[in-house]
Symmetry: C2
Subunit: 327 residues, 2 copies
DNA sequence: ACCCGCACGTCAAACGCTTAACTAATCGTC
DNA sequence: GACGATTAGTTAAGCGTTTGACGTGCGGGT
């Protein structure tokens, strides 16, 4: 044990190890303790410490969709804001699955200092007895009483509509993502509304949906294009970049000139969109910022502060690239 | 408290909650306890439980590179093998960074039932006093005494060489990944060796390296291609699919016909490789299996079994596609 | 009747740490 | 030189479980 090696009580060791030594421990003893800690490679036992304090120094982030490259940037933001005081742990669910209530309960049993939840749908958190500090990421559609940091995807969708309208497109198609997901609902409705306001038309049948997958999107586009072309569609708006990749690929295979014959837009601005050919016009979502802000809010909650704003919304930006603009 | 509501002691509650009731608790009491548990929404406190048992029911996986889509499949495998007995938690490091020794120590302070480490380099684990059950993923170059599940990337590289030789390629270029990383070293040396054995030549200057990034790979290829072409190179082997995407993109931009004028191969078989155009010949690595096997080994270690094989190596397969074969 | 074993429960120690409360010693201050 | 204030350090009471050691009845065998 560290205590005996340094010739002090465990209380003193605890004080030193937690940096609460000033005014309680003499410098001589402090160095002795540090010395012993180093020599023995002692690390404060997180379990014991958590039990005594009633809470761990862990922040748990629940995420459903780890394969999304966007997610990595969110994590980076979270980490940078969290610093070294709290240890970030990720709990992932199977792809596309929502976190199970059971799993979540067990997570709470670990007594995290705070919880970050990045799940589009999440029905049961409210039921949980004492959730403790909690911040939702990119989860619109929850009450304003629950702290969240959201992305203004509706705004992004309006930017896309504005951009295409300004470029003179009259008839456009929309390739939707998984229906029923909040973010995709927002993207679609905002786009359709704004398009209508700006005098653009979405011909009958020019709205298709598919799950997120390059190949499926390519198929969906291949199937729909003859109809769309006949209807006079000159631009296709994709609910996510992944869809757009499929469209680009299929369009190239079919010899459709982009953006000459058909303009294509994406959403999410995944890394590949910068370098694809043609490069993809897309709505950039500030992932790193999303993570950072969420973690900052969480830290405030952990410190017992009142949040001046429960709901934070981050703007998205339109990155205009080759798929909608001649080079 | 559950105990008083059911009119029993906490000991009895513990027995029931852990399924150790048979032979110790009467059925009447057991149902009473279960009833109380349900009514109160009681969940065993992980912290208290971990302290008492000396170990938590958590498996921690350390991973450096969460943005790699390959990683998601590994996770899926781990989860499926782990089942619901252990809770999987991920500890990610900043992109490209190795886990810091300090972080790792703190993780051990959480008393995980086991540790899964997916880091190409990891110098200090051996120093850690009592690491407990530990399995390394895809970390060749560690001693055979430390349990690991590895991917036979060398075999994959040989398959690539064989495939190209059989297709009649005489002069090939190699676009390497970050040098110094174990997996890339293995890929390169295995490829170069086999290529030589099979009578293929890597002309001087036909070996370039770049970090993993589509754009950088494209640049590197653009810069090197005139030389390579002059040297008679008819195929370029990429150390990772990401590089290959850059090459494909640049080649298309430059009007190089693939695979007619130049064959391209990748490595990792990322999801996009199936659907790119042309589709990419690549070495498929069994990510899901990697995760599953590693978790299975870990479970054995946790149960105190001896491993019959400390080191497991999983075969990779060559997926021959359009980038090396006319359709 | 008596003893044994069995089924059912509870006790209480232990896990490793934190922290309020307390003691002891030192130091000014009047 | 006595007293409060300050500083340094310890004691011990938890935190919420788990689990081996103990009862305590009760039925069966002799």
């Amino acid at each position: 044990m560290v205590a005996e090696r340094a010739g002090v009580s465990t209380a003193t060791v605890s004080l030193v190890a937690n940096g609460k030594a000033s005014g309680r421990v003499s410098t001589t003893n402090e160095t002795k303790v540090r010395e012993a800690i180093r020599a023995l490679g002692y690390v404060v036992d997180g379990i014991g410490s958590s039990l005594a304090r009633g809470v761990s120094n862990t922040v748990i982030m629940v995420a459903p969709d780890i394969s999304n490259p966007f997610f990595a940037t969110v994590i980076a933001g979270v980490r940078s804001a969290l610093g070294s005081k709290y240890q970030l742990l990720l709990s992932v669910t199977d792809a596309g699955q929502l976190p199970s209530a059971d799993d979540t309960r067990r997570l709470l049993g670990l007594r995290p200092a705070g919880l970050l939840v990045d799940a589009p749908e999440f029905s049961f958190l409210e039921e949980l007895s004492a959730p403790g500090p909690l911040v939702l990421l990119d989860a619109p559609g929850f009450g304003p009483e629950i702290p969240a940091v959201n992305l203004d995807v509706a705004h992004g969708a309006r930017l896309v509509a504005g951009h295409l309208a300004a470029a003179g497109h009259k008839k456009v198609a929309y390739l939707d993502g998984t229906t029923g997901t909040a973010t995709f609902e927002l993207r679609r409705t905002a786009f359709l509304e704004t398009a209508a306001e700006l005098g653009m038309e979405i011909p009958a049948g020019a709205l298709a949906a598919t799950t997120i997958n390059v190949g499926l999107a390519a198929d969906a586009f291949a199937e729909a294009w003859p109809r769309w072309k006949k209807a006079g569609v000159t631009a296709v708006v994709c609910a996510t970049d992944t869809h757009a990749y499929g469209v680009l690929q299929e369009a190239r295979a079919a010899g459709i000139s982009i953006p000459g014959e058909l303009a294509v837009t994406g959403f999410d601005d995944l890394p590949y969109s910068r370098t694809s050919s043609p490069s993809l016009t897309s709505v950039n979502l500030p992932g790193e910022l999303l993570g950072r802000r969420a973690a900052e809010q969480l830290l405030r909650l952990i410190d017992g502060e009142e949040l001046q704003t429960q709901q934070v919304t981050l703007e998205s930006t339109l990155m205009v690239r080759g798929s909608t603009r001649e080079a």
